[in-house]
């Protein structure tokens, strides 16, 4: 059994097998940093397959669950080895009045599997809750999704609250969702418009690097 086999288990969403193999590999002295790096590449590959719809949402979600299980096993080993690099902290949710969360869930999964720490606020989230949770978490990003045109204004309200509290510069505001656009992001002063889930992690890393 090898790292390649572990990668295959994760890709196929075989959670129990992946977790058991990860435990065996670690007991036998495998390098946890190498393991997490490989599995990050695995999930990037799964993300590519999903982006082309060579696989569908249930499959990528199962792969994400399998990776989650392995990361739990890896946790103590990674800590000893200096920890997994956190690419950024994100609070994410669907805005108030909107109950559609499929897009948000896909972005959340891709962020987590790319090395972001994500707090999921769910759906129908008040703008002030986004802000308070971001402050509590010490987040780098506030990410909000809206599927309906009449709930899009709630994304603007998040930015208005940040301005009113004098903390606009503390967070990068990311927006997404079917009716949103770069035009809307520009209009409300968002830092990033996510036009798809796949590119979100890379673009968020980039925006954070640019600002530092």
């Amino acid at each position: 059994m090898s790292l390649e086999q572990l990668s295959k288990f994760v890709e196929d969403g075989e959670s129990d097998s992946a977790r058991e193999l990860a435990e065996t590999l670690l007991v036998n002295g495998a390098n946890p940093i190498e393991m997490i790096e490989m599995l990050t590449r695995t999930m990037a590959h799964v993300g590519e397959l999903f982006a082309k719809l060579d696989i569908f949402l249930p499959e990528i979600m199962m792969a994400g669950d399998a990776l989650g299980g392995v990361v739990k096993v890896l946790g103590p080993y990674l800590e000893k080895a200096g920890g997994r690099q956190c690419k950024g902290k994100v609070v994410i949710g669907v805005v108030k009045g909107d109950l559609h969360e499929i897009g948000k869930n896909i972005v959340k999964l891709l962020l987590e599997t790319s090395g972001f720490v994500v707090k999921d606020l769910g759906y129908d989230v008040d703008p002030l809750t986004f802000v308070k949770e971001a402050e509590t978490m010490g987040a780098d990003f506030i990410a909000s999704s809206s599927l309906m045109t009449t709930t899009m204004p709630r994304q603007k309200e998040i930015i208005e609250i940040l301005k009113d509290k004098g903390i606009r510069d503390k967070f990068k505001v990311v927006i997404g969702g079917a009716p949103t656009s770069q035009l809307w992001a520009d209009k409300i002063g968002a830092d990033l418009y996510c036009y798809d889930a796949k590119s979100a992690p890379e673009r968020m890393v980039s925006i954070l690097e640019t600002s530092h």
Binding site: L53, F56, I102, P153
Partner: protein, 460 residues
């Protein structure tokens, strides 16, 4: 309401049904059941045939959809309970469902009847841009659609602003926007001399309060009109949606069930999309008391349904319902390309022809991925509906439409990913007079001639 006699028993189940964590409902209950049924009933997507002629598979899809609804149920996200039904209750609801309704009022009333596969009766045609428009174009666009001769019903464009205020769901501006929406739509119908036209309204309402605010037989949504109850993908609801079902039933207008199974999402590929779409019709009938179902299955990445994997699902779902029920259901087109592009005209025609010959009624046409404000016009809907009438009138078979669809798909399917976004309404229409520009008309005529050359005999 089709199943009003069971309304309170169903609503009770939304409170007292089986408990399940919402996080588990789709991955642990819905998707595994759907996958099992697709395998059990040997349902298989065939990319070569976007409009298949497979009666046996249509019947298997119907049975799989029945089992899916019965075995999975419908999840209420507010109570975390599953509404479940029995075989006997499904049979009862299907027996009690009417196969026809008179909708609209006075001289503009229309008879809307169940269609069969390859039915020679033209489809009932609802026109809608399915998109938001600037406040200043709203009434003009309503009038432009009402000028369409083959329109049987209108679902007007959606407002984002009301008297300069951004509409916020659940807030006062939404109530105002909803009233403005129905006033514009009704005024346009009166000015056009079609005051009793069947209306589906109001799309501006995202919250139940917006819908309830416009129930008025004098100035608002009348009892001869219709409103929609949506679902949360997949197989989920919430109290704000159930509130609508109850209100529409008690008010007495026609209820429609609005669903868009997502290809690539929890229902997987074409097979799951077809089965889920059919199952939603049973949900509409039994949970929402709908007299018709408004379906827009769409591609997760493109937000469209004019590529072959979606056309197959639409065609098979339509055939399944046409052969096994007497329900009414509309096929809502979602195109990749935007207005005043040849691609949009072709996409609309293909969607309409495949749907019509598969037993559907038509709801045309969301364009430009249903994403961009002002990007829809009545002219693409006109071509689609004329094509639907044509293939019905001439008794075209599924095989014949399949061949035409393949030829037209060859012209656009590689461009689904980079489809042109086209122009906005005010660039394609004379806004004051609500008529298309000559440039737009010329393009419509050109593509109509191209499709006619493939053997489609347009009525005029």
């Amino acid at each position: 309401m089709a199943t009003a006699y069971r309304l309170w028993e169903i609503l009770e189940r939304a409170r007292t049904g089986r408990f399940m964590d919402e996080d588990d409902f789709l991955p642990k209950r819905f998707t595994p059941t759907l996958k099992k049924l697709i395998k059990q009933y040997e349902i298989k997507y065939d990319p070569k045939n976007p409009c298949p002629s497979d009666d046996a598979m249509a019947d298997r899809i119907w049975q799989a959809a029945w089992d899916l609804f019965r075995d999975v149920g419908y999840y209420n996200t507010d109570s975390h309970r599953i509404i479940e039904v029995t075989d006997a209750e499904i049979k009862e609801a299907l027996y009690m469902a009417n196969d026809q309704y008179w909708v609209g009022g006075g001289k503009d009333a229309r008879l809307w009847k169940h269609r069969t596969v390859e039915d020679k009766t033209p489809p009932f045609c609802i026109m809608s841009p399915d998109i938001t428009v600037d406040e200043k174009y709203h009434q003009s666009m309503c009038m432009a659609y009402l000028k369409e001769p083959l329109l049987d019903g209108l679902c007007g464009p959606i407002l984002e602003e009301t008297f300069g205020h951004l509409i916020e769901s659940g807030g006062p501006s939404e109530i105002s926007g909803c009233i403005q929406h129905i006033y514009n739509q009704k005024m346009a119908a009166r000015l056009l001399g079609r005051p009793g036209t069947f209306m589906v309204a109001v799309g501006t309402a995202e919250h139940d309060s917006g819908q309830i605010a416009v129930s008025d037989d004098n100035w608002g949504v009348q009892k001869t009109d219709s409103r929609l109850v949506g679902s949360l993908t997949e197989f989920k609801t919430a109290d704000t949606l159930l509130n609508r079902a109850l209100h529409y039933a008690q008010y007495g207008c026609f209820t429609g069930n609005l669903t868009g199974a997502i290809y690539g999402g929890w229902c997987g590929g074409s097979e799951g999309t077809a089965v889920t779409t059919v199952a939603y019709s049973l949900i509409g009938l039994m949970i929402h008391g709908a007299i018709y179902n408004q379906h827009f299955p769409f591609h997760l990445n493109y937000c469209s349904n004019t590529t072959r994997e979606l056309l197959w699902a639409i065609s098979m779902a339509g055939q399944a319902m046409a052969r096994n029920s007497k329900l009414l259901y509309t096929s809502n087109g979602f195109a990749n390309a935007g207005p005043m592009t040849e691609m949009l005209f072709r996409e609309t025609a293909v969607h309409a022809m495949v749907s019509t010959v598969s037993g559907w009624h038509l709801w045309e046409m969301a364009s430009a991925r249903n994403k961009y404000r002002n990007r829809a016009t009545p002219l693409e809907a006109r071509l689609g509906i004329e094509a639907g009438h044509a293939v019905a009138n001439q008794g075209m078979s599924r095989a014949e439409v399949n061949e035409i669809a393949n030829r037209l798909l060859a012209t656009y399917e590689d461009h689904a990913v980079d489809a042109p976004m086209g122009s906005e309404y005010q660039e394609c229409y004379d806004v004051a007079k609500a008529v298309p520009t000559q440039e737009h008309l010329d393009m419509y005529r050109r593509i109509k001639d191209e499709i006619a050359a493939l053997g489609v005999k347009f009525p005029y």
